[in-house]
Structures are given as structure tokens and as C-alpha cells.
């Protein structure tokens, strides 16, 4: 099967020039990554290892020095090619604060992609916005607010909602659940799994939380200093990590040596359903 979205041999070096000194940061080194249709792929790695840079290259907002991005088997041309993908490939930024226009109300920000792509009339837009807000656990009231009037986790969910408005085929999520309480996080993870099944959505999911990656993704890539150092089925990589950095990560999961709280697990009867 042809992967739906693919990076092949991507390289990117940043050059810093300060006070006569020049230094090169090899942010991404010969990285290849595949995303199959309907698959959720996890991307973990050291902070500063090139995860965001790679994903920005994949959607064409960062230049690669060399390498190729393919969508449905075809190479994506710089600029023009990426512009054509803008609807089908959505990206949720790591930094929820800068991603939203500060003077635009949330409702308008969510409706904007529908307007740009001429989907749905005014009344239906409003409905879709409200439905999407409730899918990410927010009240319709939020639509009237400005970004600065929201908490961190509320903003993070608005960004996700915005990316989902156009029912994309590929979704790249850069650290989107770290600012959510674990109950809302569980809700968002269930939502993403549901979309994967219903819409055959493919997802590249970047996170530092290995528990989330383990839960969500079928395959995982581990990056370290700009390179992919390990990849494979999540189950396998996490149960028998081969690279020392992966081992170190698995060892440092906070709270791992403490038992699961007694009262917290079990209780399979679902209090009141999901209503």
C-alpha cells in the first residue's frame, strides 16, 4: 500500500551567525517517515531533536535543504503543491498561544476555514462550530470569547477544533494534549480514535507523554539529535527498546514506580453513560 503521507531523506540545518561566530544546528538529518492511510503514528524524542521542524517541513511551512515529501505517492512541489494540500492536511501547533489571531472571536476563527473553502451557509456554519466545540468538551459560549479570555487547555482544544472543521485526511498534532486535565485528555483521545475509525483519518502525533503515545499510536518513531534512532510497532518498541535513548525515556516516566491507586481503577460500570 502506498503511504498517504511520507517524508523521504529530509535534511535541515539552521545556521546561527552571532558576533562573527557561525554555528550550524543540524535539526533534521536524513529522516524518512511514513504514514499509512488510517494509521496513527507517534513521534517522540528528545526536546530539540527536530520533531517540530520535521512536521513543519512536511506541511511546507519550513524549507528542507534536501529530501522529498510525498502525498498519496506523489512528490509535493514546494509552495504550489503544499497550497493544494491545505485543506486535506491539517496541523495543530505546539504553541496554542500564537496559533490564534488575538482579535478574532473564537466562533469566527472556527468558521473561517469554512468560509475560505466556501463550505456551508451562515446558519450551518454556526451549527458546525457549536458541534465541534462540544466534541472537544467546550460550551458554545466560548464562541463569543477572545483567545486571551481562555485558559491554556481551552485554547489548545480550540486549535484542535479548528483543524478538524474541514474534516482533513491527514492530521499532524504537535504536543496537543499536554495542557489538558486527564479527563479532558481522555475525551480528546477517544475523539481522535473515533475519527480515525469513522473518517479513516491518518495522524502523526507528536508527544512527550509516552503513556499517551502508547495508548494512541500503532507505530512509533523515536528521534534523537535530529535523527530517527528507532522505529516500529509501538508495543514492541516500548516493551523491548533497542536504542539507549528510548530506554532512558521509558525509565524516566514520572511516577512509574508508584502503584496505580487502588480506588482509581476497576469500577467498570459507567456512571451514567456519556450523556
Amino acid at each position: 500500500m502506498t503511504p498517504i503521507f511520507e517524508a523521504i531523506g529530509v535534511n535541515r540545518t539552521f545556521t546561527l551567525r552571532r558576533g562573527g561566530k557561525v554555528s550550524r544546528i543540524r535539526a533534521v538529518q536524513d529522516v524518512s517517515l511514513q504514514l499509512d492511510r488510517g494509521e496513527i503514528v507517534g513521534l517522540v524524542g528528545e526536546s530539540g531533536s527536530g520533531k517540530t521542524t520535521l512536521s513543519r517541513i512536511m506541511i511546507g511551512i519550513e524549507r528542507a535543504d534536501s529530501g522529498e515529501i510525498r502525498y498519496q505517492g506523489r512528490a509535493v512541489e514546494p509552495k504550489k503543491g503544499f497550497a493544494a494540500l491545505r485543506r486535506e492536511v491539517q496541523y495543530v501547533f505546539q504553541d496554542p498561544y500564537n496559533a490564534l489571531c488575538p482579535t478574532m472571536r473564537i466562533g469566527d476563527a472556527l468558521a473561517e476555514p469554512l468560509i475560505i473553502h466556501r463550505i456551508a451557509g451562515r446558519a450551518e456554519r454556526k451549527q458546525r462550530v457549536e458541534r465541534m466545540l462540544s466534541m472537544v468538551g467546550l460550551h458554545a459560549d466560548i464562541a463569543r470569547r477572545l483567545p486571551r479570555q481562555l485558559s491554556g487547555g481551552q485554547r489548545q482544544r480550540v486549535n484542535l477544533a479548528r483543524a478538524l472543521m474541514l474534516e482533513p485526511k491527514v492530521l499532524i498534532c504537535d504536543e496537543i494534549v499536554s495542557g489538558l486535565d486527564v479527563s479532558v485528555q481522555a475525551q480528546v483521545l477517544q475523539l481522535l480514535l473515533g475519527l480515525q475509525q469513522e473518517l479513516d483519518l491518518s495522524m502523526l502525533f507528536i508527544s512527550h507523554d509516552l503513556r499517551v503515545i502508547k495508548y494512541l499510536s500503532q507505530r512509533v518513531y523515536v528521534m534523537y539529535r535530529g535523527q530517527v534512532v528507532e522505529q516500529g510497532a509501538t508495543e514492541k518498541v516500548f516493551s523491548a527498546p533497542s536504542h539507549s535513548y528510548t530506554q532512558k525515556l521509558l525509565h524516566a516516566i514520572p511516577g512509574r514506580e508508584y502503584p496505580v491507586p487502588a480506588g482509581a481503577q476497576g469500577r467498570s460500570e459507567n456512571a451514567g453513560g456519556t450523556g
Binding site: 528528545e46 530539540g48 485558559s151 489538558l180 477517544q190 525515556l249 482509581a264
Partner: protein, 334 residues
């Protein structure tokens, strides 16, 4: 412990209100807590429950449209609510520093990392050029910022999310404050660097008597930080106790629901996670009764509708605000 010293931070009945279409609503509603030098308070809870807003009152940086009230909001015996601009300026950064959930807010995109941190050090601690430079490098390397001598010349836009977060941590540490408020300060860091930061904070607590407020959604990380844990829901504290007590013997239905929905390395998609059904109330909506009542599996019909539950004692160091627990004990909230 023998007779403990006086708390450095004393908060009684703190609230933050905003005007809204439904009149004035409280997003922080009657919080009380204390903190001694060298101790830590972990705040966890629902997204939007007022954690960041409560922290902001301690620096006097709530939005202009907000109204802050408290019976007491004292730092080392001094009332914070009465401070003027000069008073706040002397305190902020030097005595109390905050690592913001939003590192972009603390980092001016047009200023290099070096200028940012050395300006703060110069302003609060002074020193010669060489001393300031040395302290800047030291603060950065303590926060795990790689190759500080060279990379501190970078602008925030040239750094990864986690590197920016480490700059924000270094900035907070740079002036050796007595209280650090870390609001989701390690969420963008991989777990091994996270562990290094936690280690550093512990060292500063033990060695310099740093008081710490640590806001996090990661209950495993809460275990690593230790101290007291305050669980918030809809602007209110619903459970309070030593971290292991609350996590091993959760007594509030919200805390229990939260713990149930957390993924662990043992969970996988074949056993779906169990989020708490329903949506958090809008600000003000939960006022009057028990804040969690609309989603609570064990709510008491009349009582929880009408009366806000006061604290019920679980142990000397552990308390819970729940009518059901007050009436029936642990059996009632199982």
C-alpha cells in the same frame, strides 16, 4: 515535624471575578492555602478551573477586567492586595517568580535569551558585566539549556518549544526568588529533562528553602514533586492533602474520576479510557451547591443542589469537600 516556622504565603478565601452576561462570575472561588519555606503545593484539576488565575493573583497580574478579593493574601506577613506598583515591582521576579504556562508571554521575540536573562539579573541582583554574564550562563545550564555560552545568543523563535520552556525556567531561577510558581512548566520537555528539572527544584527547596507552587495535569509528576496536593474544580478546591494520601485514597468523586481517566503504560486502546461524562460547568454555573454535582455519580439530590459542602476531615492532613463523603464516608464515594 516539630513546631514549624510561620508560613511565607497565607491565602484565605481568595476569589477572582469577571463581569459576564450573567452578571459577575467567579472563576476562582474561595481558595485557602498556606505554604512554608522549603515546601511545595501541587495544584491539579480541571482545565479552566482557575489554577492559572489563582497563581496570577500572587503576582498582581490578573486581567484589568477582573476583581480580586481575599480575606487574606499575605507574603511574609505583608498584604499583597494593598501593594502599589512600586511594591509589586520589588517583589516580582526577585521574591516571587512565575514560570508561565505560555512561555511566549515571558519571552520577547525581539530580545535574545542572553539579554533577557542578564537584564533581569542586573535589575534585581546587580554585579559587574562579567558577573552578570557568569550568572546568566549558570542559570541557563541549571535549567538544562544546552551550550549556553553560545546558544544564549539565539532569539526565542530560533528555539524548540522545550528550549523556550527551559529559558523561562532559567529566567525564573535567575534571581533566586523565595517562591517559584511553575504553571505547567515542564509540559514541553521530554521526561528525562523533566526529571532533571524536578531534581533541581528539589535541591533548591532543600538547600535554599525555596517555596514551590507546581501546577500540573500529570499526576505521576505530582508524585515526584510531593508536598501538598490541591485538586480544583470550577474555581474551588474540592480535595486537599499530602500528595500520596490524595492519590492513594482519593475521597472526592471528581478526584476519583480524574484518576480513572489517566492513561498508564499498561493501558491500550482495547480498553477505552473513561473520561468523566459531561462537560465542565461554565464560570458561575456551579455557584451555590456542590460544584461537581451535575456530573457526579453519587450526588445527593437536594443537598448538593443547594448547599456548598464545607471541608470534611479525612486525616490530620487530608480533607475533602463532598456531602456524600460527609454523610457516608468512603463507602459513599466508592
Amino acid at each position: 515535624m516539630s513546631d514549624s516556622p510561620k508560613p511565607v504565603l497565607e491565602v484565605e478565601n481568595l476569589s477572582v471575578r469577571f463581569p459576564s452576561q450573567r452578571g459577575e462570575v467567579a472563576v476562582v472561588d474561595g481558595l485557602s492555602f498556606q505554604l512554608r519555606a522549603g515546601e511545595s503545593l501541587v495544584i491539579a484539576g480541571e482545565s479552566g478551573s482557575g489554577k492559572s488565575m489563582a497563581c496570577r493573583t500572587l503576582l498582581g497580574i490578573t486581567p484589568d477586567s477582573s476583581r480580586v478579593d481575599a480575606d487574606r493574601l499575605d507574603w511574609k506577613g505583608q498584604g499583597l492586595l494593598a501593594l502599589d506598583r512600586a511594591g509589586w515591582n520589588a517583589l516580582r521576579g526577585a521574591e516571587i517568580a512565575m514560570i508561565f504556562q505560555d512561555p511566549a508571554a515571558a519571552l520577547n521575540p525581539l530580545i535574545t535569551v542572553e539579554t533577557l536573562i542578564s537584564d533581569a539579573i542586573r535589575q534585581h541582583r546587580g554585579g559587574t558585566r562579567a558577573e552578570v554574564r557568569a550568572r546568566t550562563i549558570e542559570a541557563l545550564s541549571r535549567a538544562g539549556f544546552p551550550e549556553p555560552e553560545f546558544r544564549m545568543k539565539a532569539f526565542p523563535g530560533e528555539l524548540s518549544g522545550g528550549l523556550r520552556q527551559r529559558v523561562a525556567i532559567a529566567l525564573a531561577l535567575s534571581c533566586e526568588p523565595s517562591l517559584i510558581i511553575a504553571d505547567e512548566a515542564t509540559t514541553n520537555l521530554d521526561v528525562s529533562i523533566q526529571a532533571q528539572i524536578v531534581e533541581l527544584l528539589r535541591f533548591l527547596q532543600a538547600d535554599l528553602g525555596l517555596a514551590l507552587i507546581f501546577v500540573t495535569h500529570d499526576l505521576g509528576l505530582a508524585r515526584e514533586i510531593g508536598g501538598d496536593l490541591m485538586v480544583m474544580y470550577a474555581g474551588q478546591a474540592v480535595e486537599y492533602g499530602r500528595v500520596p494520601e490524595v492519590l492513594e485514597d482519593p475521597c472526592h468523586p471528581y478526584t476519583r474520576g480524574l484518576l480513572r481517566s489517566a492513561p498508564t503504560m499498561a493501558s491500550d486502546r482495547n480498553t477505552p479510557l473513561q473520561p468523566i461524562p459531561g462537560t465542565a460547568p461554565r464560570p458561575g454555573e456551579a455557584a451555590g451547591g456542590a460544584p461537581f454535582r451535575a456530573r457526579c455519580p453519587v450526588a445527593m439530590e437536594r443537598l448538593c443542589e443547594r448547599e456548598n459542602p464545607g471541608w470534611t476531615r479525612v486525616s490530620d492532613t487530608h480533607r475533602v469537600a463532598c456531602h456524600r463523603f460527609a454523610a457516608e464516608g468512603r463507602g459513599g464515594v466508592q
